[in-house]
Symmetry: none
Subunit: 245 residues, 4 copies
DNA sequence: AATGAATGAGTATTCATTCAT
DNA sequence: AATGAATGAATACTCATTCAT
C-alpha cells in the first residue's frame, strides 16, 4: 500500500498507530475462523474494512467499537491491540484508504492517445470503475459527514485527494483547450462540472441509495449523460440548423 | 412554519411528537400576547435553529442535547418539554426545515416570461439565494450524512424534497425541449446535471468549506459557469467557426 | 472550612474541582433519604466522606467510584456531577480533609501556662483526640500509601501538614530547652520521637488494627507510655539511688 | 528462599500456589544445571523482585502484571507459568520476603556480651542495616497499605513478623529491667517505642522520601537520637544537679 | 412553564488471564 | 518453558431522560 507522502504531517499531535496500516481491502475469502486464531498480519486490515463500512454507514459517533470488532470477527479487546482508540481507528481508516492513485492516473492520462473528448469520457468512467463503484467511495461520504468533527483529517483529505483530483481534471480540460478541442473555459470553476457529479454519486450511493424507495440512479448512464451534456451542452444549435437549413 | 403535506405519512412507525412544532399548551385562550408569551412561542423555534446548526455540524450522535439547549438559551429540561426525545427533535428539525416552496416555485416558473435558457439561469441562481445560501441548506448535508441512520426520514426527504425538485428541473428542461430551445435530452439523467451541483455546493459548504485551508469555491460563479457549460458545452464548435470562417 | 493557603499552588496542572469542597465530615444524621432528593449543598460532603473511608480502606486504584457513590447514597452519575474524575475526587478528599489547625494550635500552645512536660503530654493527647482518633487520621495512611502515585499531592501534604506539624513539635521541645526543663537535644531528629508514634498509630489504626487477631494497641496508654519514656528515659538512675543509699 | 514455618496456615482459604516459590516442573531429575537451567531457577526470583518493587511503589491494584513481567524481562504469559494469579504473586512476594531472621537474632542477642544499653543500640542499628535499609523494608510499607485488602496476609504478617519482633524487643527491655539497667517499664507499650520508629522509617522511605522536596531524614542519625532519647529521656535532671551543687 | 439535580443505561478502554504455537 | 495474540469481565465516564421543585 502506498501511503500518501504528507500522511505524517497530519500525525504530529494526534498520531495514528501506523502498525495498523496493513493490506487494505484485501478481499480475504471468509475462511472458517477458528477461535483464538493467531494471525496478526491480517487483523488490522480486517478491522479497517469493518470500520470503514460502519463509519460510512453510521458515522463516527454512531458506530460502536464493539460492533466493528464483531464484524471483523474479533473481540473488543483485540481492536485496542491494534488501534489505541476509536479516534485512532478512524484516522487509520481514512489514511489507509487513501492510496494516491494520482501519479498513476497522471501518467496514464498523459499518455492517452485519443482526443480529449475521449479522454474525458475515459477518465470519468474509469474513475467510476476504480473508485466510485468500490468501497473506497465511502471515504468521501465519511469525510463529507465528519469533516467538521475532524478538521485535521479534513484538510489532510483535501490536500491528498481533492487537490490532486482537481489538478488532474484541470489538466484534462486544459489539454482540450490547448488542442483546440474545447472552447475557452473558466477552468477554476469548470473542474467542478466534473467533480460535482462524482461527489454527488458517492454521496448518493452511500446515503440515499441504500434506502431509496423509488428513485434510482444508474451511475454509468448518468455519467455518460453528464459527459455528453458537458461536452455539447443542452442548447439546440439554431445557427447550425439555420446554416444547414 | 409550513409543514409539508405528507409529513404525517412519516409518522406511522416512529411518530414525531407534533406538540413540539405546534404551540405548546394551546389550551391557553388567546390572551394579549405579553412579552413572556412571545418567548413561549419562540422557544421551539430557537431550539430547532440551534439543533439544526449543531446536527449539521456534528451529526446526530455527535450532538449533545445539552449543547442544543444551551445554544437556545434554555435548560436541558426545557428541551424535553417541547420534544419528547433527541430523535424526536431531530425529526422535527428536518421536517420543520422543509417548507415546500415547490408549489410557489412551480407557479413562478410556469409564469416565467423569458426563454428557457434564462429560466434555467434564474432557477439556479434563485435556488442559491433562497436555499443554498441559507441555513436550510444544512438539512441536505444532514440528510446525506444521516440517511442510513434514519431511513424513514430519508425517504420522507426524498419524497418531499428530492422528488419535487427533480420534477421541477425536469419541467424546465422539458420546456426547453418543447420550445426547441434545447436539443433532445435523456431527461432522467439530465436533471442530475442540475441537481448534482446543488448537492455538491451544499455538502461543500457544510463540510469542507468550514475547514478549508486553501481551495475556496465561489458558489455564484460556479453555478454561472455550470449553467454556461451545461447550456453550451465545453466543446469547441468547428462547424460554427467553419461557417463564420 | 479553611482551605490551606497553598492549596491552589497544587492545582496548576491537574485542577481539582473546587465546587466540591463543601462542609467536610458534617455528621449529618442519616435522614431517610427520599429518592431523587435534591440537596446540592450536602452532596459533595457526603461523597468526600464516603470516598475518604473507601480510599483509606482500599487505596485509590482499589476503590470503585460506584462504590463511593453507593456509600454516599447517590448514583454513579451524580458523583461525576461534583467531581470531574476519580482523580479529581481523590485530590479533593485529601485537600478537603486538611484544615490547618496549626495556627490555632500554635496559639493554644503558645499560651500554655504549665511546664513543658505538661505541654508535651497535653499536645500528644490532644492530637490524639482531635486527629488521631478521628476519621481525619485516615488521610495520613492514605498519603503514605499513595504518595508515589500522586507525588504532587504528596509534596502538598508535606508542605501543609508534615512541615507545620514538625515546626510545632520543635517549638515545644525548644521551649523545654529554653526553660531548662529539657536537656540539650538534637532537635532535628528529636521531633520524630514525637511524630513517629503519631504516624505509627495512624498507620496501625487503619491497616493492622482492623484485621488484628491478637495484638491490640491502646493508643492513649501507648502515647502516655511514649511520653513518659521520652521524658525520663528507660535507664535506671544509678547516681540517684547511690545518693539515697 | 526460606519459607516461614507458619506459611501454610495462611493457605487455608485462599491458597497460594506454592509451585510458584518452589522449583517449577520439579519432575526434572537433578541434571547438571546448565546455564539455561540456571535461568529457569532464577525466573521466579526475578519476578518476585520486580513485583516487590512495583507493589511497594504502586500498590497491588495499581500495579499491572505486564509491568512486573517486563521489569523481570519476561513476557506476561511467563509470569502466569509461575504464579497462578496476580493475587498469588502478591502473596508469594510477601511470604517470600519474610525470612524469619528472628531465631538467628534471638540467638545473637541472647549471646550479647555487653550491657543492655549497648544491646539496644546494636539491635536498632543492625535492624536498620539488615532490614530497614534493604529492599525488604518495602514489605512493611506494602502490608500497611494493603492489609485491609488482604486481611489474611495481614494476620500472617502480624504473626510471622510483628509478633516475633515485638517479642524480641520485649526480651531486650526485660533483660535491661532484670539486670537493673532499666527502670520498671510498662513493657506492653514500651516495645512500641522501639517499633514505631522502625515502622515510621520504613513508611517514610517508601512513601514520602521518594518525592520529598525539602525534609530529609537521616535514618542512622535519627535512630541514634531515638535510642538516646529513649535511654535517657529529654528531661533535665534537677536531682543530679542538686546533688552536685 | 422552567429548572437543574439526579439517574442509569450505554460506551470506550483497561487489564488479568488463557491458550495455540 | 516461553511467547504474545486474543479474550472478556471489569470499570471509568457520558449523556439522554426524568422529576421534584
Amino acid at each position: 500500500m502506498t501511503l500518501p507522502v504528507a500522511a505524517d504531517t497530519l500525525l504530529t499531535s494526534q498520531s495514528v498507530n501506523m502498525s495498523a496500516t496493513a493490506t487494505p481491502h484485501s478481499q480475504t475469502p471468509a475462511e472458517p475462523p477458528a477461535k483464538r486464531e493467531r494471525r496478526k498480519e491480517a487483523r488490522p486490515g480486517e478491522l479497517l474494512e469493518a470500520a470503514l463500512d460502519l463509519f460510512v454507514e453510521k458515522g463516527f459517533a454512531g458506530t460502536r467499537v464493539e460492533e466493528v470488532a464483531a464484524r471483523a470477527g474479533v473481540s473488543k479487546g483485540t481492536l485496542f491491540l491494534y488501534f489505541s482508540s476509536k479516534e485512532d481507528l478512524f484516522k487509520a481508516v481514512v489514511i489507509d484508504s487513501i492510496g494516491n492513485r494520482f501519479v498513476e492516473w497522471n501518467a496514464e492520462f498523459e499518455a492517452f492517445p485519443g482526443n480529449t473528448t475521449e479522454l474525458l469520457k475515459y477518465a470519468m468512467s474509469s474513475w467510476w470503475e476504480r473508485v466510485g463503484a468500490t468501497r473506497a467511495s465511502g471515504i468521501t461520504k465519511l469525510m463529507m459527514s465528519e469533516a467538521r468533527n475532524f478538521p485535521e483529517l479534513a484538510s489532510f483529505y483535501q490536500r491528498e485527494v481533492m487537490e490532486p483530483g482537481r489538478r488532474l481534471i484541470r489538466k484534462i480540460l486544459q489539454r482540450g483547450m490547448d488542442r483546440g478541442e474545447f472552447r475557452p473555459l473558466d477552468l477554476d470553476n469548470a473542474v467542478y462540472s466534473c467533480i460535482a457529479p462524482m461527489i454527488f454519486l458517492m454521496m448518493w450511493k452511500h446515503s440515499m441509495a441504500p434506502c431509496s424507495l423509488g428513485v434510482e440512479i444508474d451511475p454509468v448512464a448518468y455519467l455518460a449523460s453528464q459527459v455528453d451534456v458537458m461536452l455539447h451542452g443542452v442548447s439546440a444549435r439554431p445557427e447550425a440548423s439555420k446554416i444547414k437549413g
